[in-house]
Symmetry: C2
Subunit: 429 residues, 2 copies
């Protein structure tokens, strides 16, 4: 199967951050040519003047919570947690499945082709995601037994899930999730790490989201969370820390030295008003790899990476009183190649280059909110002006998931109806 994308502005995100005007040839899911394509294709996507970029990578979410949007807004953080935890405890495999497909649909429509999930029931989420055609790293949430509602030992559940996934055949990769220092003992962290290292899996965890988390941990251990995780020998290059807001410069250096990546979640942090702003300029200066996550639909309440890119820029600039903090190009890097690096897939995805898998998003070149389209302002327009309305066509792993705003392969109405029905059941109880 050969697909050609013709006559588009191509934001390659390759090493030189080249922007080309030309074509892309995809063969059996792999990008074969970028620039001028003369050979025939089975399917031609005429994209005259459209903007092509790598599929966006959302490095922190809890996708199945998509059916819960709006349930706990404008309330205090403790009230938020108690509301969401009480709903979480009532969830069934059916509504997790329905919520996952709804979330995947939202991500496709907003240009995300890969996401990192942290939840229990990743077996259900894997099935739903596989059907939707997205790429994902699904990290089963591990925590101490005393804090969980999971049946059986969470790490055993996680192992069982990871071993059930055939990594050779699938766009779905398993990962090891850790809820955070507030519910995970040293033994839990280290056992999880041992397993992840042995199997070559991602270790994905919440880190220093709230000031309370940091203060409580200091009282308990005398150390801040990153210092502690470093001290016990947990951190390493397969680590991806979500939030990472309340960090000292010393902690930023610890993350850099250990090659831990960060998934910053600006909308979630702002909406929950947790106060800390992730020190992204310091992270970049010290060499921490940065990526972007939306967090869940209960905190955000959206899985739209275009919104997330813009908000990240606004938050970083405004909190420093400095409009030069982070360029549009850096923000786009976090959402593409930075995300790919964070999950160890930078040789496979994150840019549009020959031999990479074809994860590609096409934005409408005739959208008023992106016009006028000029090479000089293209990256700015993508980061500061675009919206999910502009996402026209989405390809993941060489498969066309949406073409000209029409969802392919999946019955969109059935997904929406299933989500509505699942929400109805969940909230009537």
């Amino acid at each position: 199967m050969r697909i050609a994308i013709k006559d588009a502005w191509i934001i390659t995100q390759n090493e030189n951050r080249q922007i080309l005007r030309g074509d892309i040839l995809i063969e059996d899911g792999v990008i074969k040519e970028v620039g001028k394509v003369s050979s025939d294709a089975d399917e031609e996507i005429y994209s005259h003047g459209d903007i092509v970029l790598p599929g966006l990578i959302n490095t922190h979410t809890h996708v199945s919570m998509a059916i819960l949007k709006g349930v706990a807004d404008d309330v205090s953080f403790p009230d938020f947690l108690s509301k969401v935890f009480s709903i979480d405890a009532q969830r069934t495999p059916e509504d997790i499945y329905a919520g996952t497909q709804l979330g995947c649909l939202e991500m496709i429509r907003s240009g995300t082709t890969t996401f990192v999930d942290l939840y229990y029931a990743e077996d259900v989420i894997a099935k739903a995601t596989e059907e939707m055609g997205l790429r994902a790293i699904l990290c089963w949430a591990v925590l101490d037994e005393e804090f969980t509602t999971q049946k059986c030992r969470p790490l055993d559940n996680c192992r069982h899930f990871c071993e059930s996934i055939d990594q050779e055949k699938s766009r779905i990769l398993p990962g090891v999730g850790l809820q955070g220092v507030y519910v995970c003992s040293k033994e839990t962290f280290l056992e999880a790490k041992e397993y992840a290292d042995e199997k070559g899996l991602l270790l994905h965890f919440h880190l220093s989201e709230t000031r309370k988390e940091v203060n409580d941990h200091r009282k308990k251990t005398g150390m801040r969370p990153s210092e502690y995780l470093d001290k016990i020998g947990f951190l390493g290059k397969n680590c991806l820390a979500a939030h990472a807001c309340w960090l000292t410069l010393n902690e930023v250096r610890i993350l850099a030295k250990s090659k831990t990546s960060v998934s910053t979640c600006p909308v979630s942090n702002m909406k929950l008003a947790t106060g800390g702003v992730a020190p992204i300029p310091e992270m970049r200066k010290e060499g921490v790899n940065v990526s972007i996550g939306t967090d869940s639909s209960t905190t955000n309440n959206s899985l739209d990476m275009f919104g997330e890119m813009k908000t990240l820029s606004l938050l970083q600039k405004s909190s420093r009183w400095d409009p030069t903090v982070l360029s549009a190009q850096e923000i786009l890097d976090f959402a593409t190649i930075g995300g790919a690096f964070a999950i160890g897939l930078d040789r496979m995805i994150g840019s549009i280059e020959p031999s990479k898998r074809a994860d590609i998003v096409i934005l409408d070149g005739m959208a008023p909110n992106l016009s006028p389209i000029r090479r000089e302002t293209l990256i700015s327009n993508v980061v500061y002006s675009s919206s999910q309305a502009n996402v026209k066509t989405v390809i993941c792993d060489g498969q066309i998931l949406m073409k000209d705003w029409e969802i392919k392969r999946i019955d969109e109405i059935a997904v929406l109806n299933r989500a509505t029905e699942a929400a109805r059941k969940l909230f009537s109880e």
Copy 2:
């Protein structure tokens, strides 16, 4: 001409903030019935399960700058000003016309039906806006002659413009703009006020956007800008102040007492990183009417009020470390009825009620990012989850400007091509 909207969720924004499931009947531009409509219509908009809300009101922009998006990003505020002013000085009526139509198109596609503009050349902007079918209050920028590139005296230009508009027949209302305390003398303020009061026009001006503006004004007059404008007798109920970031509580009380409305511009303030956060909770407590503006495409870089509503909430919550600051309902109020009140049109627009003009936006009820749709979470979903992608149909003054994402009455391609050509000319020079 009778238009019926059938079987939708109707967010009325009436006094009781009712949400109804039902129909709307529009006759000759006026809302006749809300709830159950049994009579026949010339055109029926079947909206089963869609979400209907009042057209959004953007109370501060410089619409014709839509062709300038991306020209001055990620630079210091002085660099930003010098770049934008130098481009502004080269502008022609042709590119102002083209930019205005582009901006109007972007606003239609993102659900705005009324905007307040502040610029010179409002005569050109009036013509372009009239053709696009939007409602607008166009405020000609008045400032001291020594600071302007306008030919003739700015206040004379403003008067001339205001008198050229036939207010009885048009959706276009003229207004008096004032650049701000940094370029307007006491005499300029008072002469403008006298004219506006005499003619019943809106007085729209920048206020306390930057700390420098406030400090410079204190050095010059011993007073902060709002104190000064109060002291000279300028403030009053036809006043609409944009930004209003760097205010003391005393100034908030001055605005409340004088019945001055505020247009808060969160994205612009954050992107330019001007530091001050408009004290919206204090404004509400003291009784200041609040509305929302996008500011221009050079600072934002978008005219999307859905993005603006969400960012306003995020900024207010995060800057106070308090997620309970401003509810979704309050934010929606600012963008609808608060906006209408700010421009003196609250008896005409801003809510969906019999006898009001039909300025109406229909959001897609089958959008994954708004699903599941439940009455309990409808306002939250509109404010926190929606995007311009969801704006399906837009009616202004009873005229259908967009139906099922298709622009009516206007040749969209021609507008886009004209904008591209205008930008090409402007930036080749």
